[in-house]
């Protein structure tokens, strides 16, 4: 048991802090901190800056750009990155397809894709969910039929986040419709988005933003060497990927920032006797969320130790579940503090309202997704009940 950081970890923390706050341009970080729609150029610039310093994919194998960090160091890295408002390395690249290719891809695939993936020279998107295969992902119906040395893909993917910017998509496709179980007969394909037959249709979300898409495949021909690992073994790779996804998602630093912001905003929101921060019910909501996020961060640090070598501890589901709850509660609080000003979603031209109030409600609504995407909270409860407590029907 040890409370304080070691001197080594403290130095590491300082090094990360220095890097993020001096090497990634302030303007870029300010834009990211302000929220709202993402500029893909900012993502690319940030990730390439990190990658040049070996900080884009520290959890990958050392050969492909990984670092030999402890779990705590990885936590510190993520905290400092979020604290400095650096856009994180694109999850589809760094946390999803990269580790899959590194673990299961051919040497040729590794060489072809990993450096470009780490450097965001290729922007990846995810082709997993389908209209009738959400939580029940294994029901997916998009097919790939081998024709010579090409797979011919037909079907539809959905909820493809940031697909409008993507160069490539990694997709689960059904390569053996006759397989006895639905988890069998699925393969993991890498597909260039410029391949003829691919159409991307934007899906607008309730906050007005465009971050997800439908992707349609019509006789899309994919070279056979773009299938990762074994044919029909894609479900294994998908589970590996989804586990990694869960580990990466605890938005601890982000929640802490929202709470710090909420506190600052509440202190600015005048009442007739002081400010909203002087209102005991508001201050208590903040205090309780702060206690909650402290407990969450400690749990993240504790649980990280259990997710060695890419195989996530089911306890990481705690972190996903509780993390999204706190994140949503914190954003709800911020929208409440915005109060009447939150009724406008766009800052008017002439205005005395502060810019942040216009984002408050759309951001609150947008983050209702957090408990749905990346394994819904229901899926996380299922994992906890079944995988940890052994409660299986």
């Amino acid at each position: 048991m040890r409370l304080e950081l070691t001197d080594e970890d403290r130095a590491f923390q300082q090094q990360m802090r220095d890097f993020f706050t001096t090497k990634v341009p302030q303007e870029l970080r300010d834009r990211w901190a302000a929220g709202g729609e993402v500029d893909p150029k900012d993502f690319i610039e940030a990730q390439q800056t990190l990658n040049a310093a070996g900080l884009a994919v520290p959890h990958w194998p050392a050969q492909w750009g990984g670092q030999d960090w402890s779990d705590l160091q990885r936590h510190i890295y993520l905290q400092e990155m979020q604290a400095a408002s650096v856009p994180p390395p694109l999850a589809f690249n760094a946390n999803m397809v990269g580790p899959v290719i590194a673990a299961f891809g051919s040497q040729e695939q590794k060489e072809r894709f990993l450096p470009a993936t780490a450097n965001l020279d290729i922007w990846w998107c995810q082709g997993f969910s389908e209209p009738d295969a959400g939580s029940d992902l294994a029901s997916l119906r998009t097919t790939a039929v081998l024709d010579g040395d090409e797979w011919v893909v037909n079907g539809q993917k959905t909820w493809t986040t940031l697909g409008q910017y993507a160069d490539w998509i990694f997709a689960l496709v059904r390569t053996d419709p006759q397989a006895p179980k639905k988890q069998q007969g699925i393969s993991f394909l890498l597909i260039d988005m410029k391949t003829p037959g691919i159409t991307v249709r934007p899906i607008k979300l309730i906050d007005g933003g465009h971050e997800v898409n439908e992707v349609f495949f019509e006789n899309v021909r994919v070279p056979a060497d773009q299938l990762v690992g074994e044919v029909n073994a894609g479900w294994t790779y998908a589970k590996f990927l989804l586990g990694n996804e869960r580990v990466g998602v605890a938005p601890v630093a982000s929640i802490k920032k929202v709470l710090a912001t909420a506190k600052a905003r509440a202190a600015q929101a005048r009442t007739h006797t002081g400010s909203l921060l002087d209102e005991p019910l508001v201050a208590a909501r903040i205090a309780e969320l702060e206690a909650g996020v402290a407990a969450l961060e400690l749990t993240v640090i504790r649980v990280a130790a259990g997710s060695k070598e890419g195989r996530p501890d089911p306890a990481s589901s705690i972190v996903k579940l509780r993390g999204t709850q706190l994140q949503q509660d914190a954003l709800e609080l911020l929208a409440d503090i915005a109060g009447p000003a939150s009724l406008l979603w766009q800052q008017p031209q002439d205005t005395s309202l502060e810019a942040w109030t216009a984002h408050a409600t759309p951001t609150y609504l947008n983050f209702r997704k957090a408990s749905i995407y990346g394994g819904s909270n229901e899926v996380q409860r299922q994992i906890i009940a079944g995988g940890i407590l052994g409660l299986r029907a």
């Binding site: 600015q268 209102e279 409440d336 009724l343 008017p348 205005t351 819904s376």
Partner: protein, 361 residues
């Protein structure tokens, strides 16, 4: 105490439901609008022509001599139909005009407002300030016969479509109300701007503001209740038809139990809406009923709005499906006329004033 609707109320409900259906915004297809929208003039005209604005006001003022109960009946259907409108704002402004206006103001401002010819809204919120009916920095001063106003009211929803806004301004330590013309933004910026006084600072003005706010609360929370109903209906329908793992979602007990909790919340809000409508008909200054409604509806509608999205999953997040729009509307409503925390704090400050909760009277 009787919660049965009368026939005329049922007829009103059906008429407004029909109206709302006709004017319901699109939720599928191309560019679906999200969030707060500018005035839908066609819908607003229909609302006015159906006589909804006139409902709770006296006949001699151009009103329909009905009551807040009828307002609530209408507002539930507007909420269920996802009609965005300045209904609550107009009713609040009309309440101020009806209670405080001179004959001339009744004729020139109230009558056309009730008839839908012009729109008058209230301007209460101030930038950088928490919700309060009492003004912060907007002041009024008299120069000769003229009142001049200074300061900023913002946001003032629908101001660009209104002819006038009624501004709450500090007159010394008191609150005065002033009618000003509106510009083309959702704010009222005042810099020595002349305003026409509506009543005089003092108890009558304070009461009128409370009455206006209470009626507005009833109206928006009735809309919230309509939205809750629609969101729950959509959710139940989705659970019955959507299949995952080869079976309908309704097979998953954890989901159906949550739908049951949504229904419980809905029924409690329904009771609170109906009661508050009757309570405000009896006493427009029944702040206790209004604040309790705001708390019960605030919690209940938020639960239903959030769970409706969650139980839908991804589709609930999209602008192309109605459920998220209901959640969005519910959120806007909660931040109107004082949020749950504001009203809870107000109730908490009053718990000493009575020993036991009482609804029978």
């Amino acid at each position: 105490m009787d919660f049965t609707f009368e026939e005329e109320q049922l007829a009103l409900r059906d008429a407004v439901a029909e109206l709302a259906k006709r004017h319901q915004p699109e939720s599928t297809g191309g560019e679906v609008a999200t969030g707060p929208q500018p005035l839908d003039k066609a819908a607003w005209t229909a609302i006015a022509e159906t006589g909804l604005i006139a409902l709770p006001f006296a006949e001699d003022l151009g009103g329909a001599d009905a009551s807040p109960v009828e307002v609530s009946v209408a507002a539930v259907e507007l909420g269920r139909g996802r009609i965005q409108s300045p209904y609550a704002d107009a009713l609040a402004a009309a309440t101020l005009l009806a209670r405080l206006g001179t004959d001339e103001q009744h004729e020139q401002l109230l009558a056309p407002l009730l008839g839908g010819d012009t729109l008058v809204v209230t301007a209460i919120a101030e930038p950088g300030c928490a919700w309060s009916l009492t003004p912060y920095d907007v002041t009024a001063r008299q120069e000769g016969d003229t009142w001049l106003l200074d300061g900023v009211k913002e946001p003032v929803r629908y101001a660009p479509d209104a002819s006038h806004a009624i501004v709450a301004a500090k007159v010394g330590e008191q609150t005065g109300l002033f009618v000003v013309e509106t510009g083309d933004q959702e704010r009222v910026a005042l810099a020595g701007t002349p305003g026409e006084p509506l009543g005089q600072p003092g108890a009558a003005t304070d009461d009128a503001l409370r009455a206006a706010a209470n009626l507005a609360i009833l109206t928006v929370d009735s809309e919230a209740f309509g939205a809750m109903q629609a969101a729950l209906d959509l959710t139940v329908g989705y659970l019955k038809t959507r299949k995952q793992f080869g079976v309908p979602l309704a097979t998953f007990q954890a989901l159906t139990f949550r739908a049951a909790d949504m229904y419980v919340a809905l029924e409690l809000v329904r009771s609170s809406v109906l009661y508050t409508a009757m309570a405000l008909a009896a006493d427009p200054l029944d702040d206790l009923a209004a604040s309790r409604l705001k708390v019960v509806a605030g919690r209940g509608a938020r639960l239903v709005g959030q769970e409706a999205i969650q139980l839908h999953g991804g589709i609930g997040m999209t602008a192309e499906y109605a459920v998220g729009h209901y959640t969005s509307a519910i959120t806007e409503i909660e931040h109107s006329w004082g949020d749950t925390t504001y009203h809870l704090a107000r109730l908490a400050g009053q718990v000493r004033e009575y020993a036991e909760v009482s609804v029978l009277r």
